[in-house]
């Protein structure tokens, strides 16, 4: 096989892949999330018991991952809208992706303490 013939994609393709993957993950979470919230119609105890598992350190890491997926999907979704509706959107799609990634990193840093702080205190002691 000749070297260097595999198409590895560029920014546009990989953002498209990431948009699909994060979208599917968020949709499956949403399904579970509506089911767990429906427990408020069963009893306060049943609801509080399930929500207690959401406060464990392991699930806190999953929540941080959920925030990461949602923020990327939201920011990249705005980029897709700009590509479709802004006359210069297609020309600046790469610039907009790097802007998306920069804003995403800043927001993820900002979410680190609020989402993971309680888990870190529990695991490493306060």
């Amino acid at each position: 096989m000749p070297a260097g013939t595999l198409y590895r994609g560029r920014e546009g393709m990989w953002s498209w892949v990431a948009h699909r993957v994060t979208g599917v993950l968020i949709f499956f979470f949403l399904f579970v999330h509506v089911l767990d919230t429906a427990l408020v119609r069963v009893s306060p105890e049943a609801y509080d018991e399930v929500v207690a598992t959401y406060k464990t350190p392991l699930v806190a890491v999953l929540e941080y991952g959920l925030v990461a997926a949602i923020l990327f999907h939201a920011l990249n979704g705005l980029r897709v809208i700009a590509v479709d509706f802004w006359s210069k959107g297609a020309r600046y799609q790469k610039h907009m992706l790097w802007t998306v990634m920069a804003v995403w990193v800043v927001l993820m840093l900002g979410a680190m303490y609020p989402v993971l702080g309680h888990a870190a205190r529990e695991v490493f002691g306060s």
């Binding site: 699909r20 979208g23 599917v24 968020i26 949709f27 949403l30 399904f31 509506v34 089911l35 919230t37 429906a38 408020v40 119609r41 009893s43 306060p44 105890e45 609801y47 509080d48 929500v51 959401y54 406060k55 806190a60 929540e63 925030v67 949602i70 923020l71 939201a74 979704g77 705005l78 897709v80 809208i81 479709d84 509706f85 979410a111 609020p114 989402v115 702080g117 309680h118």
Partner: protein, 160 residues
């Protein structure tokens, strides 16, 4: 003289002269796929375009609703630690948050269901596989939307 040579009127050297004159005009050829009275009415409608537009419009609204939701539930006022039955009861006492959550539920479920429909259409190659996967998707979507709506409207803070 080259045989590939053509004149401005598109007449090759073999014809020598145009066969059409003012008294014998060239036949009018209609453009292919032109809609005429005989063209059957489209049976598909504009569903795919409506779905495309819905993804963009609902996406903009969802950015506000979902990021606001994440701020309230996971960031402000102690993050996830404060969530419990009492916290839910406090928020759903206000019609504002009921409408917020209801709108978020409907838009997010329809946005997500349409996204998964696109993915099934892209990757499931057999017609039967597509049929079953989409059947499962639509069932789960309708069930989740109805359940969530019922929970928001019938929530009872004094259930116990």
């Amino acid at each position: 003289m080259s045989t590939t040579e053509t004149t401005a009127s598109g007449i090759g050297p073999v014809e020598g002269a145009s066969v059409y004159t003012v008294d014998n005009p060239a036949p009018l050829i209609e453009p292919p796929r032109k809609r005429t009275k005989k063209t059957p009415k489209s049976t598909r409608g504009n569903f795919e375009m409506a779905a495309w537009l819905f993804m963009r419009l609902s996406g903009i609204v969802l950015v506000v609703l979902v990021i606001g939701h994440l701020l309230i539930q996971l960031v402000l006022d102690g993050g996830v630690s404060k969530i419990g039955f009492a916290f839910v009861a406090g928020r759903w006492a206000s019609p504002f948050w009921q409408v917020w959550d209801l709108l978020m539920l409907w838009l997010a479920m329809l946005h997500g269901a349409n996204g998964l429909r696109t993915i099934i259409n892209d990757y499931a190659e057999r017609a039967n596989t597509r049929l079953w996967l989409k059947g499962l998707l639509y069932t789960a979507t309708v069930f989740t939307i109805l359940l969530g709506t019922l929970v928001i409207f019938t929530f009872d803070p004094n259930i116990r």
